[in-house]
């Protein structure tokens, strides 16, 4: 059982959920979430890449035998980074991470147009953005704050969607505090969690000390 999802379930958390994760562990926690939500629960969802091209997450999922057919990737960085890495997935592109105001609209559009693999909000079980704080590199703080509010309210229309928002509270305190006001719950993953530093294949079964803070 994936312990982060277990913590979500125990607290009855749906909608936007804030995860306090050290910046260096975002990739591993994303992998855990996708394994839990897409593979163990068989849910459809959206993965929005703003930090690095989506191909890296696709490659990672493939390596860890996590099927990506039920995932739609929205990539806001590939066309900006000139990276030529190849990976096969259902993907739509946003011009660049400077255009985040267009993202909620793009999620609506691309959810419907991938060769019959359409995904309306009612089909979508979760939405993950990788990662929110990376947006601060390309946009001023107020734009990111506005985006975050729009993003959460856009997805809250469908109240069954899980929206884990991963932020490092130590590094991005202001963004974290803003997100906290929009989220229904908050989970802190301690830097001392040994499994976060162990090999990825052992992560899901080893993370046990997820602290539930607020419902």
């Amino acid at each position: 059982m994936n312990s982060i999802l277990e913590a979500f379930d125990n607290a009855g958390l749906k909608g936007a959920i804030l995860l306090d994760v050290p910046s260096t562990q975002f990739v591993k926690v994303n992998l855990m979430l996708l394994r839990g939500l897409a593979m163990e629960r068989g849910m459809s969802g959206m993965f929005i890449s703003v930090d690095r091209p989506h191909q890296y997450m696709v490659h990672l999922l493939t390596m860890h035998q996590i099927k990506a057919e039920k995932l739609i990737f929205i990539d806001a960085i590939s066309r900006f980074s000139a990276d030529c890495k190849v990976a096969s997935a259902n993907v739509g592109f946003v011009d660049g991470p400077f255009h985040i105001d267009r993202l909620p609209e793009a999620m609506g559009e691309w959810g419907k147009c991938n060769d019959g693999n359409s995904m309306t909000l009612s089909d979508c079980g979760f939405a993950i953005i990788d990662n929110l704080s990376a947006l601060l590199t390309y946009n001023n703080y107020n734009s990111v704050e506005t985006f975050l509010k729009n993003f959460v309210s856009f997805l809250e229309v469908a109240d069954h969607i899980r929206v884990p928002l991963m932020i490092d509270s130590e590094k991005y305190g202001l963004l974290y505090e803003t997100a906290k006001t929009l989220c229904k719950g908050e989970l802190r993953l301690s830097t001392a969690v040994p499994a976060l530093g162990s090999r990825a294949d052992s992560v899901p079964k080893n993370i046990t000390n997820v602290n539930y803070c607020k419902g």
């Binding site: 260096t24 162990s198 090999r199």
Partner: protein
Amino acid sequence: MVDKKFDEKSKRPDLVRLPTGIPGLDDMIEGGLPFPSVVLVSGTAGTGKTTFSLKYLCEGAKRGEQGLYFTTLSEPTQWMLRYASQFDFINKDYFGDSIVYMDLGNLMREVDANQLLAVMEEKIAEVVPQRIVIDPITVVGGMLKGDYRLFLFDLFNRLKNWNATTLVTGEVHPGEIYPPEVSYAVDGIILLQLSEEAGARRKYLEVLKMRGTNHLTGRQSIDITRTEGIVVLKARF
């Protein structure tokens, strides 16, 4: 309002940094190496490049970060560990779990640049490291079939997208300071140098380049001790 306790500066994104654990060095580079980035550690034989790399990985392991050590020397793990174990900071329990070791030496003789890149990425995707070492990268240029510069460009670009901070070590001849084909593509350059002064060989460390970092410039005296590995001597600050 949440804004009250945060000033304008806190709205600017600071780079995430990984401490090297090398006493004195982290203070020179605003707390550590930028994450993600690729940093070249350059020096002639015996300047402490491998010691630097091992300390970096062990510091990560101590902090719960995963390490991946690519060697290009066809050196089995036990030989590397035999020498490394002379340092007090080496915890053998890290190796094989928190620090995964992979020998690329034999593979480089058989495959082309794209195949080597694919093998390295497979390992990175399997291990999901935050800290990577390639020691030494300069050997690859002499053995690889294909365009070495293009390989380095693709490799360094991808390493950053895998969300890791990678140390690549570069062996240079006496008189050279860094391998130019590597230096153009990296985010940081740290020089380890030996200098003969008054009949004695003295060791120095210099941060030549570190993107996004207000780093201390100039050569700093270092010592290599059994307890700590490389130590930047405080008398120079």
